[in-house]
């Protein structure tokens, strides 16, 4: 089983003190059940799972308590049997120290399992069924990121997977969890590798990458492969590849580069280059999920640091409070400089020790003050370039730092900030001890924030533009309609005049259609009435505009509700005055126009034929007039006949009074009186409040009064 694989070199990298011996002295241990288990619903990358149990429910070990919310989410299971005593926000291990929804279980001490569905031969099952089993078991990447394993193992059909890499590099100092797991569960890892190979349609290469500082693990794996090969020829394909120890060779992108020489394109997944990379512990968990039907409820975790009496690896249930774990290992609070979840290069400090062990907890590091002293203050960057020499992504950390300080986000993007894997190698070597990674994290956060805000702003800008466009469209439609109406009215007027003219010119015909004539006369006279009304209306408009202008020109006086006149108010007043002036000018212009056109449009005493002659100057109207008179085939010659017809029509109209008119008018008067009453009340209120629309109210009342008088007069006329 000698390695036939070329081991590639990766750029950069550092060699921090390994510190792996201290946790490997003792065998893999276990700790007693804690008094409570706090199981967060989000222990993975993706959407948090949804609680499916209630407070007071009794649960069994391995029972589903949080169901995955969508594909990019992971199931959560009870780690032991007991009672759900709370579902609430609890401290979780997170760099920000936030709390998150968790299910708190009080163990009953029995650790009774749910019924498990075993599967002796996974090859007998469909791949999709196997993926379902893995998904159901709540398996997320145990290497540190917590990527949902079922998602990772289901690449797109266009992504042909030719290499499966089991990541056993474990390059972080101190951490030995994977090393321990590979030593004691080598057989399960080989079986898990074969399972994943089956799910991924048997990739050409099955590689287990291990750094050369783990000879025991390598030997155990080689033995396990040899024994598995006896029964399963597929196992012969598995190769254990050891490569030189260098941090951060255990990063997914890095181990892929080491074992295949390929680089995952920026912004893509490794499946795009035909590689799937799975942590060794994840493979074991997947195997157990399929073989024994065991949901993932525990993991191997390294408990290490000089502030502890016992340093070792333990198989610990998810949800066990870290304070309890530390307590079981003789934690001396006074000696510790900090408590870190993860390794010293990429781990984060815990702000609340009651946070539980979760799926991504590969190490709990409790170093003493001598071991990992507080960081010295940062000095100025001298651009020595040591950071660039150790960067595994070949970035220029010193330039990134410069631009991150200046918040020059464009330059940061141009320098590929988002290809930074935050391994911390640059900070490690920095002679000025600048917390470089922290600057990059902050800059990434700001850029993401800016992008979100930009998206939001874009959306509201779009909304605003759409609204403007919609209003403009509506205005245009209104204007078009108005023009149409105007045109139609003019045409109708014209037609009517023509018709009247033609009819009056041919009295013999008009006698055959007396109704038409009378209607036309009525309309013409109504037009006359309305022109009068229009004039008064325009005059009223001018008056109202004048009053508004006067009102708005009144100096602003401080009163009770408004003791101080602000700049804004003055500006508003200016605007109001301007508007009022415009309105007045408009009204005056309209009135002037109206008066100017009046003699032409309002032929009070002129005969219809004259009106027709006066207005029918356009060729269309002449054509219309001609067609109107075509059927009678005669010419207009007697204007007097028209006058007679009109007089007749008027007589006729006056002779048909409405019988129920009186009651109607009485009703109208009543309605008007009540409206008037209401308007007066409103006016009084407006006066009290010093309402700017006060003049409008007054005008309204005057109008109502006028109308009322009119109707009363007409009644008087009729009755009198």
């Amino acid at each position: 089983m000698s390695s036939l694989i070329r081991v590639w070199n990766i750029p950069g990298g550092v060699h921090p003190p390994e510190n792996k011996k201290q946790s490997l002295q003792l065998p893999l241990g276990e700790i007693p059940l804690p008094p409570v288990l706090v199981i967060p619903l989000n222990q993975h990358l993706g959407t948090p799972s949804q609680a499916v149990v209630q407070v007071g429910d009794n649960v069994l070990a391995g029972q589903l308590i949080g169901a995955a919310d969508g594909t990019f989410s992971v199931n959560t299971h009870a780690s032991t049997s007991g009672t759900v005593i709370a579902i609430e926000e609890c401290a979780i291990p997170h760099p920000s120290g936030i709390a998150a929804e968790s299910i708190v279980i009080q163990p009953d001490g029995l650790h009774a399992w749910i019924e498990k569905e075993e599967c002796a031969d996974f090859r007998a099952l469909d791949r999709l069924d196997l993926l379902d089993k893995i998904r159901a078991a709540g398996i997320a990447g145990l290497g540190g990121a917590g990527f949902p394993t079922a998602v990772k193992l289901a690449p797109k059909s266009t992504q042909i997977i030719d290499t499966l890499i089991l990541n056993g590099a474990e390059c972080e100092p101190y951490i030995t969890a994977d090393d321990m797991l590979m030593q004691v569960r080598a057989n399960e890892l080989i079986a898990g590798t074969l399972l994943l190979s089956h799910i991924l349609h048997y990739p050409e290469k099955l590689l287990i990458g291990v750094e050369d500082n783990k000879p025991k693990a390598i030997a155990a794996l080689k033995m396990a492969i040899a024994s598995a090969s006896v029964t399963d020829p597929e196992a012969k394909k598995i190769q254990v590849v050891s490569f030189p120890t260098k941090y951060p060779s255990g990063g997914a992108k890095q181990i892929i580069q080491i074992l295949t020489g390929r680089e995952t394109p920026s912004g893509h997944h490794s499946a795009d280059i035909g590689v799937i990379c799975v942590n060794v512990a994840t493979a074991v968990a997947a195997w157990r999920a399929v073989r024994y039907g065991e949901p993932m409820i525990s993991r191997v975790t390294t408990i290490v640091g000089e502030a502890l009496q016992t340093q070792r690896n333990i198989d610990v249930l998810f949800g066990t409070p870290i304070s309890y774990v530390l307590e079981q290992h003789g934690f001396d609070k006074n000696r510790a400089s900090r408590v870190v979840m993860g390794g010293p290069m990429m781990g984060f400090t815990l702000l609340d020790l009651d946070a539980p062990v979760i799926k991504t907890t590969n190490c709990i590091l409790a170093p003493s003050k001598q071991e990992l002293p507080a960081p010295p203050p940062a000095q100025a960057c001298i651009r020595c370039g040591m950071c660039a020499d150790v960067c595994p992504a070949s970035l220029l950390p010193q330039q990134l730092f410069w631009y991150a300080q200046a918040e020059d986000f464009d330059r940061l993007e141009a320098h590929n900030l988002f290809d930074c894997i935050e391994c911390g190698a640059c900070s490690y070597v920095c002679p000025s001890t600048i917390p470089l990674v922290q600057y990059y994290r902050a800059a990434k956060g700001s850029i993401r924030q800016n992008e979100l805000e930009k998206e939001k702003a874009d959306r509201s800008r779009q909304r605003f533009e759409f609204r403007q466009a919609r209003i403009a469209k509506e205005e245009a439609e209104k204007e078009a309609k108005r023009l149409l109406r105007q045109k139609a009215a003019e045409e109708a007027k014209q037609k009517l005049a023509d018709k009247a003219a033609s009819l009056s010119a041919l009295p013999q015909v008009s006698q055959t259609v007396p109704d038409v004539v009378s209607a036309a006369v009525a309309k013409v006279s109504s037009v006359q009435v309305s022109t009068d009304e229009q004039k008064t209306k325009l005059e009223r408009m001018v008056n109202a505009a004048k009053v508004t202008l006067e009102f708005s020109q009144k100096p602003l006086v401080p009163n009770k509700t408004n003791p101080v006149i602000s700049e804004e108010q003055l500006v508003k007043q200016q605007v109001r005055i301007k508007q009022a002036e415009l309105k007045l000018a408009e009204a005056e212009k309209k009135l002037a126009d109206f008066i100017a056109t009046q003699p032409v449009q309002n032929p009070t005493d002129a005969k219809p034929i004259e009106a027709a002659q006066a207005t029918s100057v356009t060729p269309e109207i002449i054509v219309a007039a001609k067609t109107a008179t075509a059927e009678v085939t005669a010419t207009i010659e007697d204007p007097m006949a028209a006058a007679i017809a009109r007089a007749k029509a008027r007589k006729k109209a006056a002779a048909i009074p409405d019988k129920s008119d009186e009651e109607k008018r009485a009703e109208q008067i009543k309605a008007l009186q009540s409206r008037l009453q209401k308007a007066r009340e409103r006016l009084a209120q407006a006066e009290a409040e010093n309402d700017p629309n006060i003049e409008a109210f007054r005008l309204g009342i005057t109008k109502l009064e006028e109308r009322l008088n009119e109707i009363q007069n007409s009644i008087g006329l009729q009755t009198g």
């Binding site: 750029p11 003190p17 100092p173 992108k253 580069q257 680089e263 394109p265 920026s266 912004g267 893509h268 609070k333 510790a336 900090r338 870190v340 010293p344 290069m345 990429m346 781990g347 400090t349 815990l350 702000l351 609340d352 590091l365 170093p367 990992l372 507080a374 960081p375 000095q379 100025a380 960057c381 001298i382 651009r383 020595c384 370039g385 040591m386 660039a388 020499d389 595994p392 992504a393 070949s394 970035l395 220029l396 330039q399 464009d410 330059r411 993007e413 141009a414 320098h415 590929n416 988002f418 290809d419 911390g424 900070s427 490690y428 070597v429 002679p431 000025s432 001890t433 990674v437 994290r441």
Partner: protein, 356 residues
């Protein structure tokens, strides 16, 4: 134990800026020793005076800027600048020349730009160039090296040296032309004849004293390379470019020749420049590729100024300053290819990243 939020990584390498600078200081010792051997106590007085004034100016400015003085002095960068000024200026030069150089370097060229890490130009070279232009006579009066002194005559005594430095007492036959001057003014002699004629060459590579001074600085530089204080890229490319230029225009040692490659490598400030000036990280290009371009350009420019320049025999200071100007430009074209990218991205390319 308070549960503090401390950012990763939680462990740090042993390297510190102060240590880097101290290593640079140690690495100058062979060169200083050689200079002192050949030119006398004046070199030590130079170095001492320049170091003290540089550190004093640094402390004064830090005080003015209301920064913790000791914290900033601990990075030893002012000391390095002082030593570099001390070895660059001619021994026994007037005291005010040294003090001016320290002032220009620390106050004008470094602190006014924001201090450590923010200066675009090498402070010691700014001081050197400014003074060379302002006081060409004082700045080029190097004393006669030991091997050329009449038999039995030693370098100046401490008292005489102090007298010369602080009171400007003239000393007969004190200064003599350097080999670079002679080479520049050579007209009509082949190199062989020149070497024979001028005692200063002493029949060897690059003139009495200077060749050993350069070798001493080379030793210091190799020590720094071994200690990984800087990478090989800038100094090696500078020396290589200078060698190539000298070889190309050697012209078989005719009267038009400007000297052999070995002559250029071991004369003037070549080795001091290559390992102590060009390697200044603050003012050089940032990437390794960029540093190769930066170093090589300096090498070419040094040769150009030495051979075809009209007034100055040596060109290290000017070449370095010109390339300090150019280093952002070099950076623009020499960004390395990042993992997962097909080709390097230009420093101003702000096209959105893939997949985000």
């Amino acid at each position: 134990m308070a549960l503090l939020n401390i950012t990763s990584p939680h462990t740090h390498g042993a390297n510190r800026t102060g240590r880097v600078m101290r290593l640079v200081v140690y690495a100058t010792f062979p060169g200083i020793a050689a200079l002192t051997h050949f030119f006398g106590i004046g070199v030590l007085i130079n170095v001492l005076l320049a170091s003290i004034t540089c550190v004093a100016f640094e402390a004064a400015v830090m005080k003015l800027r209301q920064r913790p003085v000791m914290f900033y002095l601990a990075d030893c960068s002012a000391l390095v600048t002082g030593i570099l000024i001390g070895v660059s200026l001619p021994a026994y030069c007037p005291w005010w020349l040294i003090v001016s150089a320290s002032f220009i370097a620390i106050v004008l060229a470094k602190q006014l730009y924001g201090g450590m890490g923010f200066n675009p130009f090498n402070p010691a070279m700014v001081a050197y160039a400014l003074l060379l232009v302002s006081f060409p006579l004082q700045m080029t009066s190097w004393p006669t090296p030991l091997p050329l002194l009449p038999d039995g005559q030693a370098t100046l005594s401490l008292v005489a040296a102090l007298d010369k430095i602080f009171f400007g007492t003239q000393i007969d036959g004190y200064s003599s032309a350097t080999v670079l001057d002679i080479m520049k003014q050579n007209a009509g002699l082949t190199l062989n004849d020149l070497y024979k004629k001028e005692a200063v060459f002493d029949g060897r590579w690059a003139g009495a004293g200077w060749e050993w001074v350069n070798i001493a600085f080379l030793i210091g530089g190799i020590y720094l390379l071994y200690k990984k204080v800087f990478t090989w890229h800038a100094p090696v490319s500078m020396l290589a470019a200078l060698t190539v230029m000298a070889a190309l225009f050697y012209d078989s040692g005719s009267s038009n020749s400007s000297g052999s490659p070995i002559f250029h490598l071991l004369s003037g400030a070549t080795m001091l420049g290559a390992f102590f000036i060009v390697t200044d990280p603050v003012t050089s290009a940032v990437s390794n590729k960029g540093r190769i371009v930066y170093g090589a350009s300096i090498g070419v420019l040094i040769y150009v100024i030495r051979s075809w320049g009209t007034s100055y025999p040596d060109g290290v200071a000017f070449a370095v300053l010109l390339l300090n100007f150019a280093s952002p430009f070099i950076d623009y074209y020499t960004t390395p290819r990042t993992y997962g990218h097909k080709k390097p991205r230009r420093a101003t390319d702000s096209t959105p990243r893939d997949g985000h």
